[in-house]
Symmetry: C2
């Protein structure tokens, strides 16, 4: 069976037996079941209806519960954890409003196809008819982001429901399974019962005739683009795809915002499709065929007056080699073998570019010197969480050829994703340094993640790109044809008056912080942050509104 | 026509005509229509799909757009504004994730029956089929909180849709009207058309035979409780209800968490039903009749094992004098006149209690000395926003008999409500000082409100009740029968390790701040904060976990 959807062998999902003759609360049974299924981290922001879950934690110490001060941190952290481990974390959310606060980062996780077991407390079943103040339609909210939803009906069902939730979250493809747990289901007593296994279904292999069809396309001599997304952007997929491109002349692109792109070291570099539709159209302009590999058809992120939604040229044919439910890596390797029979996955597609020099930048802080500073400190094995938006435009180029690292993007466009994903990534990959490159406006949605980083002592270095503006929106204002905007419009896109002081904000949540106003200062602060254990924040002061 | 649901005469809701022969974008038409309907404040956190709305602001300067850094601040501020003015503010939210971030405070606003025109941008209609990254099911999310939802189909419909939205929000009863506006509807051109009026429907009068039935109940000689909620807790309702109680021996209670309770000065005091079900059962234990006046039947906020959901005694009859859609004040005044014909609304129910003395407290900061400190500085006309949770237990008693003020509570139980509601209340009532009494854990959900207070120069004094714990949950852990919790459980309810430094956090968002560790210091800091214009924050350091 091929692993899905992360790196690791998927857990055996099993219903945990009670000790014969014992009984326990539903909540304890739930936690035990999750731990048996290797779901042993729970990002939590509980309330009264979740108190029995909280109380049961001491009975199952294998479950690591991580408190966040806001639900957007809970769900974003579960996303980061799942991206790094390939296994779901659990969340613990308080009723509809708690789920609501977590929706934005669940939206991003849905787009990343991250496995998450989303546990939402609900009023006791018998209490729901009274429409108490916190009553709301949890299922309606959950439907926005979940591939699987169940409202647990009894304490005795809870273990089986949790087993199903883990299996649903694992996929393939991965996704969000939401289990709604009424309070009386949590506090009710469960009788012992026998274990029941529910294996994760295997990933579907891509049929040989699809491989052969795609071989004909890449061998056609016509201009071919191979657009890689999802799991195709891990090492094996990249090596296979690079081999295909080398053998056939096809052009490779990565999707615009990958959930996890492996790069650096001797990995072959790959260019990402641009966020700006007009630039992406330019990248694809000569294509006569686009082969999608775990990627969606390239469309504009937003609509703009008079601009097309579809980014591929007229007459270009779209094909799919493999989708999210397929063995994407296997399909790419099979295609590579069909175009270059001597190819071996262990050596194929190795980058032969000379390592670039990473000189320490000097002088004023700009988007360019900021990117150079990050490139020259980037440690081997780093996990880079990128919510840099406009000010990060030079990052990708500057860090190409840096030591081996992973690059995690905002997959769904809901901002406030960077700090929480970095938090969860650090818990999922505790031996790797995490660098979160975070736009200032977006940082303010979920800044509470810093406190969880401090409490858990996580090795996360946050770089705030402080340009005191929603700079992307100044750009978008013009792109939608609304011109430069008058003073009232522009005021809505500025983060000044007053300026945000991210050093004070970080220190207020227990994270050591420093401010850099030159490239030299930024390098020094970053080196210190990466050297010392625990979280740090560096506010990089950029020109106002500078992209 | 009786005003509804706030204090002021409701706006005439009218479709605004274009100047003959001119044209404008849908977005401009929307803003014009809103302004004509007296919806002239918009709390906003826009994105690309809302850029045409932003661009149109300069053409309709009567609309005041207020930027917030997070959508929970947007929606909570609209709630506070609507509670103080009786008129809706507009929100401006970015697609499904933006609405998701605003759901929790919309939930509270729904429970408060606050009129809000909730404007949610959406992808252009023709772009939606491409499932671009930010695409999600906005209507499913909106259905959780909205009494009225419409997806606008064309630019020409936008003014009429906005008119309908304002009318729906005004009620009666008030509520949330969500208008989803696709980007191409915003940027499309609108032709001029004639005005069309859509008056707000009048509030329904309570039938005379209901008044007469209730007269018989209060005159029956049996123990009667009159439970006041919603609009019954404003001056006229309170005076009438107090007259009824004085004439008949009925006992008055206010609902547990009123949206807006007028009190202090010569207003008759009213005891609120307790949050703790066991205490509320005690308050109602001798009732044989409960008359609901714009209040829901009293039920437990949460369910607890072995505890009843219904808080009224067996055999007690529930009656309704008036519901949210009724002329609540008129019904109470009619009942007052029926039991005391000489009664006059201008003088009835005046408090004759001696004004309590408000000595300056001294010594350690405790919940009790904190309440005394707030009572002794509370200025005439203050608006108190109360999200004090456990540490605020003595506030209500301490401030009874203070100068005239309004008390705004968390109506829906979704925490993170205080700071945003205070922000909106200050914009809705600019001549009144706003005091936000804010529990520390709840503050961290929507702390970004401080930045909006600083930018807009709002006279809001925030008092953070810093006990470094979700103290309410320590209490709830025991109440749900889960005992005191082991160390892993207790760690999930503590806000320490690291402590939050609210002075640094406030200063980081441009709000002057100070820390008080004694009652004397708290009084001094509060007096200075209330004396100086603009927002201030005082962190009141209480014993750890102390309720």
């Amino acid at each position: 069976m091929t692993p899905a959807p992360g790196d690791e062998t998927p857990p055996v999902v099993a219903l945990s037996p009670n000790e014969p003759g014992t009984s326990m609360t539903g909540a304890r049974s739930l936690i035990r079941t999750l731990v048996h299924a290797k779901v042993d981290v729970c990002f939590a922001n509980p309330g009264t209806s979740e108190m029995h879950f909280v109380a049961a934690l001491d009975a199952v110490p294998e479950m690591r519960a991580v408190l966040a001060l806001f639900e957007g941190v809970v769900t974003g952290a579960a996303d980061g954890y799942g991206r790094m481990t390939g296994r779901p974390a659990a969340t613990l959310l308080h009723l509809g409003p708690g789920l609501g606060n977590g929706i934005a980062n669940l939206h991003n996780a849905r787009r990343a196809r991250t496995p998450i077991v989303n546990i939402v407390g609900e009023h006791a079943i018998y209490h729901q008819r009274f429409d108490a103040p916190l009553q709301s339609d949890i299922v309606a909210l959950a439907s926005n982001v979940s591939k699987w939803i169940r409202v647990c009906a009894s304490s005795d069902d809870l273990a089986a429901d949790a087993t199903d939730a883990v299996a649903a979250a694992m996929g393939p493809p991965g996704g969000i399974a939401t289990l709604v747990v009424p309070a009386d289901v949590s506090w009710g007593t469960v009788a012992g019962r026998a274990a029941r296994r529910r294996p994760v279904p295997p990933i579907g292999s891509v049929p040989a005739d699809t491989i052969e069809s795609m071989r004909k396309v890449v061998a056609s001599g016509e201009p071919v683009v191979i657009l890689l997304g999802g799991r195709a952007l891990r090492e094996r997929g990249l090596r296979a795809a690079t081999t295909i491109a080398g053998a056939t002349g096809a052009t490779l692109f990565a999707e615009t915002f990958p959930a996890r792109l492996e790069r650096g070291g001797d990995l072959p570099p790959i260019e990402r499709l641009a966020y700006l539709g007009e630039m992406a159209i330019g990248q694809l302009t000569s294509a006569r065929h686009i082969i999608l590999v775990d990627a969606a058809a390239p469309v504009s992120f937003f609509a703009y007056p008079g601009q097309p939604s579809e980014l591929w040229p007229t007459g270009c044919e779209l094909h799919a080699l493999a989708g999210p439910g397929h063995d994407v890596t296997g399909a790419l390797e099979a295609l590579a073998a069909s175009v270059r029979p001597s190819w071996s996955s262990a050596r194929g597609g190795t980058s032969v570019r000379p390592a670039p020099s990473f000189a320490r930048p000097t002088g004023p802080l700009t988007s360019e010197s900021l990117a150079a500073a990050i490139a020259c400190v980037l440690p081997e094995g780093a996990v880079v969480v990128d919510e840099s938006n406009t000010a990060g435009v030079f990052l990708s180029g500057a860090t190409e050829g840096a030591p081996r690292h992973d690059w995690l993007c905002n997959t769904g466009g809901a901002i406030g994703q960077g700090l929480p994903v970095a938090t969860g990534a650090a818990i999922g990959a505790p031996d790797r340094p995490v660098i979160c490159i975070q736009a200032d406006g977006s940082a303010m949605y979920t800044l509470q993640a810093l406190w969880t980083q401090a409490r858990e002592g996580l090795d996360v270095t946050t770089v705030i790109l402080s340009n005191r503006a929603y700079a992307i929106l100044n750009l978008e204002l013009a792109r939608v044809g609304a011109g430069a905007g008058g003073p009232l419009a522009r005021r809505l896109l500025e983060l000044s008056s007053p300026d945000l002081d991210f050093v004070a904000l970080a220190q207020g949540m227990g994270v050591p912080a420093a401010r850099a106003t030159t490239a030299e200062e930024l390098v020094v602060h970053l080196e210190r942050a990466l050297h010392e254990p625990g979280p740090h924040l560096v506010e990089a002061v950029l020109p106002i509104g500078f992209g």
